[in-house]
């Protein structure tokens, strides 16, 4: 389930080929972000090289002159939005595309040139101006991280540009909703507004209009995300009710705000923020009262209110977060109970400080200093809770049938608890109930059923290697994990997304950073049973961390040597072909030639996994094995497609039908080398590249095989089209 893409008009910037230089003219449509001397903003294009074109583009430039609403001319290189494409993981490129941004302009040589005047919408400019003033108050009066934290809690993470680490910690603790400008914030703001209006004896009509303006301004400041939109529309309905002496009905208001939002932004239906916001609100009015009724017999009123108000949203949001992030916070129940009763004070004080501080800074400083105590407490509580073991659970995304079943069961439980008696089981009810259950089971089986077979995924980890193998018997093998950041960014999320709770075997081909870099993160986050590596000493931080974690986690350690055979069950074997003892000494000049090379076999289907093995290593293998023993259907071209690998003799022996090259786009080594490519295509081999096609998944039943790529659907010889992940 993803965002539906509409066909783009012919004069859209997305149709221009990447890589060319262009002169763009357009208007800045958002508040530029400043990182050092780099500036990032979105440009609404009017002309490209003098030709009228349309669309949005992300601009990365130098200087700090551009402002919201400026009309600019900016020159630079047009590139595709950089994004690693892996099955089941939303890439940055997809995220940008959902916002209508298909291309990026790198304009680092010269700052943009302003032409004409500022064409900002007055309203937006005013909002940005107010927001800047208000956001400046915490920044000037509080130490980090509390300044960012307060800004995020009061204005939402979108407005405050909250760093990822804080967001992740809060997600882990199950309190990510604190960082989203939403109902609680607006509720407080509007409550204060109405109180002031009443205290000043402003007539009702004028009071409602004033509050509406405040409501609208806050929503604009917070950035018009789905949750703030929902809250703002519901607040407006409540205000209109005041005016017409009508009382709002929550379900109706919720439905109306949903209708309005989806009318304008239909894509929001698939937006995780939309789903969480509506789910949590629905749960608060539907599920929470039942929990409260149930708790109030045993617990004091305040405790049961808090408990029910923290349990209900969690119940509604668990399937959503599992579906989108493959994780759900268990500790969230506890952290919400602990925080809910008083975290509102932080918001109120933060608001007051921002407004007072914008008028006269020392006033804001005074209030914020008091608030710092609360912030400190909240922050330490949250980070402490987030650090606990079992704070969150991971699972592959549940199937839609399972999610539907979950919500049906939730509703059923609520209805039963509310009526406090078992319904009469008439035949028709009995029948329809069992039919629904049956339909869900069939649906679930259909959705999760895959052709049993061997599945090899060459992950897109930029410049580096990471290969994941899933055998028909359910054994899991990971070979390398890309560069430093890739473990956290790609490999671990990928494993969690696919429900891999433990790896039976991790192979490190050799100790270079683009192979070992991500492994410490994998070892820290995922249970690993066996590790196999050449064991050649290499002095690098990542490799030392890797070895330390292998020891600390008491993982069974094997030095990989030619001739070893690993049986993975159901007829799948992994033969280690390299390094021979002669190639695994600590005196090896070229570490690449110590790479563990292995041949994965399943029936007649074979995959040659080479690491960074170069010509010398290939020759060594050819010396010990006959050519027939080296035949493989798929070859992972050695050393990212460098010219120092994949010799003619090696290719002649392996005779692959398919070659996969794992490299990053625009890498400084200029991998893959054109001679290697020519070599491969000359031999009639289909070449797939992770830099161009994203992750490559090859599946086989032991005879036939098929493959899919993430970025472009390539052609697929012969076999059954496999399930393309999610």
């Amino acid at each position: 389930m993803g965002l539906r893409s509409q066909p783009l008009p012919t004069d859209h910037i997305a149709n221009l080929p990447a890589g060319q230089n262009a002169e763009l003219r357009g208007v800045v449509v958002d508040q530029p972000k400043q990182v050092g001397d780099r500036q990032y903003f979105t440009l609404k294009i009017e002309r490209v090289n003098g030709e009228p074109l349309q669309g949005l583009i992300a601009v990365k430039t130098c200087g700090q002159e551009a402002l919201y609403g400026d009309e600019l001319i900016v020159c630079g290189k047009l590139v595709d939005v950089d994004g690693l494409a892996n099955p089941g993981i939303l890439s940055f490129a997809e995220h940008q595309r959902a916002q209508g941004i298909h291309k990026q302009l790198l304009a680092l040589r010269s700052p943009p040139k302003k032409i004409a005047g500022n064409r900002a919408s007055r309203l937006m400019a005013f909002c940005f101006c107010v927001r800047e003033r208000l956001l400046a108050v915490p920044r000037l009066t509080l130490p980090e991280p509390y300044a960012t934290l307060l800004a995020s809690i009061v204005f939402g993470s979108q407005a405050a540009a909250t760093p990822v680490e804080i967001k992740e910690a809060y997600k882990r603790a199950g309190v990510a909703h604190l960082l989203v400008a939403s109902g609680m914030h607006l509720g407080i703001l509007i409550g204060v507004c109405l109180f002031l209006v009443k205290a000043c004896r402003v007539p009702l009509g004028a009071g409602v209009i004033l509050t509406t303006i405040v409501n609208f301004l806050y929503a604009l400041m917070a950035g018009f995300g789905p949750s703030i939109l929902r809250a703002a529309i519901m607040a407006e309905i409540m205000l209109a009710g005041l005016l017409f002496e009508r009382e709002k009905e929550v379900y109706t208001s919720l439905a109306i705000s949903g209708l309005i939002i989806l009318l304008f932004w239909p894509n929001y239906l698939f937006h995780v923020g939309f789903q969480l916001s509506f789910g949590a609100t629905w749960s608060l009015v539907y599920v929470a009262p039942v929990i409260y009724d149930w708790l109030k017999d045993w617990l004091p009123r305040l405790v049961s209110v808090t408990l029910s108000a923290s349990i209900a949203p969690v119940l509604a949001s668990v399937p959503v977060t599992l579906y989108h992030f493959s994780q759900a916070s268990l500790i969230g129940l506890l952290s919400n109970v602990l925080l809910l009763p008083w975290v509102g004070f932080i918001v109120v004080l933060g608001f007051i400080a921002a407004v007072l501080g914008a008028v006269w800074l020392p006033l804001g400083e005074l209030v914020n200093s008091a608030n710092l105590v609360l912030l400190w407490l909240a922050h330490h509580l949250i980070t402490g809770l987030a650090g606990l073991p079992f704070a969150q659970i991971f699972s592959a995304p549940p199937s839609l049938a399972l999610i539907t079943g979950y919500y049906l069961a939730l509703c059923l439980t609520v209805e039963l608890l509310r009526r406090r008696r078992w319904p009469r089981l008439t035949l028709i009810r009995y029948l329809s109930g069992s039919l629904i259950l049956l339909a869900l089971i069939v649906w679930h089986i259909f959705l999760t059923w895959t052709v049993p077979g061997l599945c090899v995924t060459f992950l897109d980890v930029g410049q580096g290697d990471a290969v994941f193998i899933l055998t028909p018997a359910g054994r899991t093998v990971l070979i390398d994990a890309g560069d430093g950041g890739m473990g956290e960014k790609i490999v671990v999320p990928f494993l969690r997304r696919h429900g891999v709770a433990a790896l039976d075997l991790v192979i490190l081909t050799h100790a270079h950073d683009d192979h070992v870099g991500g492994l410490p993160e994998v070892l820290a986050k995922i249970k690993v049973r066996n590790v196999l590596e050449p064991g050649v000493i290499y002095n690098s931080q990542a490799y030392r961390n890797f070895r330390r974690l292998v020891e600390a986690n008491r993982i069974r350690y094997t030095t990989g040597r030619a001739g070893q055979k690993i049986v993975l069950g159901d007829g799948v074997t992994l033969d280690i072909l390299h390094p021979t003892p002669g190639f695994a000494g600590n005196d090896m000049e070229n570490l690449n030639n110590t790479s563990v090379v292995c041949l994965l076999s399943y029936g007649s289907f074979k995959v040659m996994l080479t690491g960074d093995n170069e010509h010398e290593g290939e020759a060594e293998i050819l010396r010990h094995y006959r050519a027939e023993e080296l035949r493989a259907t798929v070859l992972k071209a050695g050393h990212h497609g460098s010219s120092t690998s994949t010799s003619a003799e090696w290719l002649r022996a392996v005779q692959p039908a398919l070659a996969v090259i794992s490299c990053g786009s625009g890498n400084k080594f200029r991998h893959p080398h054109s001679s290697t490519l020519a070599h491969l295509t000359g031999a009639g081999v289909v070449v797939l590249r992770t830099d161009l096609q994203g992750a490559v998944t090859v599946t086989s039943d032991g005879v036939r095989y098929s493959w899919v790529t993430e970025k472009q659907a390539g052609h697929c010889p012969g076999a059954v089209q496999p399930q393309p992940g999610l």
Partner: protein
């Protein structure tokens, strides 16, 4: 036009019974309405029902939550009650006088609930609503005072506009009858201003459950 506008409002704000909160076009749904049991007049004072249950909730929402739409069904309730009571014939009377609200409270609330009830009553019985009573003295709120204090607190708090009730037969209207302190003071003021006959009618009557104190 008004019908059209109202139906749109009904769509956005689905009307619900103010007491049981179930979806219903009426402000007080038939099921809740039926739960209100009439009571006999006590010491010549007509009160519709005990200040409890549905009626208590309805009055609460009417007064404190500003749900003015309850004036209609509660007024009709009083009409029905009075029509069923042979001891009081509204045709024999001249005007309806509501107990005034304290000006400060009136400002806070924005309306006098007794006046709203009176206008419904007046419409049905063809009697004019005459808010002739007004407060001449600031008094403390009655509800947090003990019984004896209430009588002391309220003495001389009301006055009648000159000559408006002389020789008239008057219905003195209030929402809740608790100790009778306010009502007796109002009745006194009306009699002193020359009213011929004063009939006290209230929507509800608070029955004090505290031992040793008897309502009335």
């Amino acid at each position: 036009m008004k019908v059209f506008f109202d139906s749109i409002l009904d769509l956005i704000f689905p009307p619900r019974c103010e007491v049981c909160r179930k979806s219903n076009k009426a402000a007080l749904c038939p099921a809740c309405y039926k739960q209100i049991k009439f009571m006999k007049p006590h010491l010549g004072i007509h009160s519709v029902s005990v200040y409890d249950g549905v009626l208590r909730e309805a009055i609460h929402r009417f007064k404190f939550n500003g749900r003015k739409r309850l004036a209609e069904p509660l007024g009709v309730l009083m009409v029905e009650y009075l029509s069923s009571m042979p001891s009081l014939d509204p045709a024999e009377l001249d005007m309806i006088v509501p107990v005034p609200l304290h000006p400060r409270r009136l400002r806070e609330r924005g309306f006098n609930q007794v006046e709203l009830l009176g206008s419904v009553l007046g419409k049905y019985f063809g009697l004019p609503l005459s808010p002739v009573l007004h407060r001449v003295r600031d008094t403390r709120a009655q509800f947090d005072l003990p019984r004896e204090e209430r009588f002391k607190n309220i003495i001389g708090a009301f006055a009648v506009n000159n000559g408006q009730v002389a020789g008239k037969r008057v219905i003195l209207l209030d929402d809740i009858y608790t100790t009778g302190a306010t009502l007796s003071e109002c009745a006194k003021a009306l009699s002193e201003a020359g009213a011929n006959r004063v009939e006290v009618v209230t929507l509800s009557r608070a029955v004090d459950h505290e031992p040793g104190s008897v309502a009335g």
